[in-house]
């Protein structure tokens, strides 16, 4: 049940992408996303698709899992490409009532579909290969320049880390409380909407109580260990760039060059 939900969907393995510096991975993701939207012909799109396929293969995560993450948005893809199909301009190939399909429309809908699929695949390859803690670590480092603007980057990252850390705990707690109330005959699966909402009260009240208790305890424990925010704080796990990170950056640059060339010359 609740146990089946894995947050951040991190998939432990020993692929090349797993060993990349998380900062680089976040930058690469941003780069690829920008690239996905900068493709103006099929050749450029092909280059991006190749890059995405490479990242999927290099992640050493079963393709089945990627397909699973696609399942949630398959409807979105279908609807958007269907809409695009009818919004093309130019000579209609096929016409029925107010619907007309043009070559332009077909092209657009393929673009949209490939773009969304690439987007989801490449983002999944980041979350599959990077543990949530690594991810927030990377974000903290990447947000560092913002501290010039008096934005407390460390605090934001800490909040994200704690939130991520406690999602599974709270899920587990929810599961336990639900089981306990079910053991007392609580019925959460039947009845109309209002009854079902009412049936959640026995779960939500204890959940809030325990969430607040946990928050107090955590704050206390952190203070006991002299936590006082990010100032002057050093880290146990330093992030290091290595040769493979530069190679990865290089691959992205090559892809950028490829897309630009395809856009201009083909």
């Amino acid at each position: 049940m609740m146990r089946d939900i894995t947050l951040g969907q991190y998939y432990p393995s020993n692929g090349v992408l797993h060993r990349l510096d998380p900062r680089i991975k976040v930058l690469l993701l941003i780069g690829v996303i920008v690239l996905i939207f900068c493709t103006f012909n099929f050749y450029a799109l092909g280059v991006v698709a190749l890059l995405v396929a490479a990242s999927v293969i290099l992640s050493k995560v079963p393709v089945k899992l990627y397909l699973k993450s696609m399942k949630a948005i398959i409807l979105v893809i279908l609807i958007t490409s269907l809409l695009n199909l009818f919004y093309g301009t130019g000579e209609p190939i096929f016409q029925w009532w107010i619907f007309k399909v043009t070559a332009d429309g077909i092209k657009n809908s393929i673009y949209v579909a490939v773009r969304i699929i690439s987007l989801v695949m490449v983002s999944s390859s980041l979350t599959f290969t990077t543990s949530p803690t690594d991810l927030t670590d990377a974000l903290e480092r990447l947000m560092k320049p913002l501290s010039v603007l008096k934005i407390k980057t460390h605090e934001i990252a800490m909040m994200m880390t704690i939130a991520l850390r406690f999602v599974p705990t709270l899920l587990e707690e929810t599961d336990k409380i639900m089981s306990a109330q079910k053991a007392r005959g609580a019925d959460m699966e039947s009845g109309n909407l209002i009854r079902r909402i009412k049936a959640l009260i026995p779960v939500l009240v204890p959940l809030f109580v325990s969430a607040f208790r946990r928050a107090y305890e955590l704050a206390m424990a952190m203070e006991c260990r002299c936590y006082q925010g990010g100032e002057g704080r050093t880290r146990m796990k330093q992030l290091h760039m290595s040769a493979r990170d530069f190679v990865a950056l290089g691959v992205l640059l090559v892809a950028v060059a490829g897309v630009v060339l395809c856009n201009i010359f083909l």
């Binding site: 146990r3 393995s13 336990k176 306990a180 079910k182 053991a183 005959g185 009240v205 204890p206 109580v209």
Partner: protein, 289 residues
């Protein structure tokens, strides 16, 4: 023992099948529990005790195997599953975390209310359940969040007892209580069992708790049931228990060592009071008392 109240048939459960987090929590457990028995359930942390208990009242569906309550497969009919939970009452670990109502009275009434009982019957059950759990009647109208830790625990246990289950399962009911509270709660459970003559399963890490109350003991290790025998027999296998990270009650160990030194104590003494009686009798016989 032809008609056990609970029977399991090669019960197994695998969590997260097909993922790297796959874990076999319960492996091939076939047990029979008779009416009116008190069963102590022991096993180190993560041995599958709690999971097994939750399968007995149908909260967790086994990956394979069956659970029979009074001869009927509990998963045979989905609609009757809720009814199974009223008949097999389960008190979770740290049950005080599940209190939610405005008053203790209403919280205890949650179970009977779900059973669809009339108001007067519910009121009666709340009162008797509170008494069985050792909860003072004046606490019934307080908010459960204002009670002390021990009182909360009792209120939560009363919430399950109020359903008057044929089988009462308590998952580590004494965890985190002070010694007095422990003893008190256990004797309350014992008294409840004796007056209702229902079946009780008691999960505990304390061998002393189990020794004082259980007729038979179920030993779990790595998801498997390694022993299900009378308390005396189980605790006579000290070496085997130690191998799986458990031990026998302190007093059983001391008396068996005294026996080895030639003191004429009987075998398999399980409680301090038993030992006390025997030693006093010996001293009297020898004229030293």
């Amino acid at each position: 023992m032809s008609n056990p109240i609970l029977r399991t048939e090669s019960l197994s459960l695998v969590y997260g099948k097909g993922t790297p987090f796959e874990k076999q929590a319960v492996k091939n457990v076939s047990i029979e529990i008779n009416r009116g028995e008190v069963i102590g359930v022991i096993g180190h942390t993560g041995s599958g005790k709690s999971t097994l208990m939750q399968m007995l009242n149908g909260l967790i569906k086994p990956t394979s195997g069956k659970v029979f309550l009074d001869g009927k497969d509990i998963h045979a009919d989905k609609k009757s599953l809720r009814n199974v939970r009223f008949r097999v009452g389960l008190v979770f670990q740290y049950p005080e975390n599940q209190l939610f109502e405005e008053t203790v009275r209403r919280d205890i009434a949650f179970g009977p209310h779900n059973m669809g009982l009339p108001e007067e019957a519910i009121e009666k059950r709340v009162k008797s359940a509170a008494a069985f759990a050792g909860l003072k009647p004046e606490l019934l109208d307080r908010s459960p969040f204002d009670l002390s830790g021990g009182e909360k625990r009792r209120a939560a246990i009363a919430g399950v007892i109020a359903m008057d289950p044929e089988v009462l399962i308590l998952d580590e009911p004494t965890a985190g209580l002070d010694p007095m509270g422990r003893e008190d709660l256990l004797s309350q459970i014992d008294a409840y069992h004796k007056s209702r003559n229902n079946t009780v399963l008691l999960v505990s890490h304390s061998m002393e708790d189990i020794a004082g109350i259980a007729d038979r003991v179920l030993v779990m290790n790595h998801g498997e049931c390694v022993m299900l025998d009378t308390t005396q027999n189980v605790f006579s296998k000290a070496a085997e228990l130690e191998k799986i990270g458990l031990r026998i009650p302190q007093i059983t160990k001391i008396t068996s060592e005294l026996r080895a030194k030639g003191v004429p104590l009987s075998e398999g003494i399980l409680t301090v009071s038993e030992a006390f009686e025997e030693i006093r009798a010996i001293l009297k016989k020898e004229g030293r008392l």
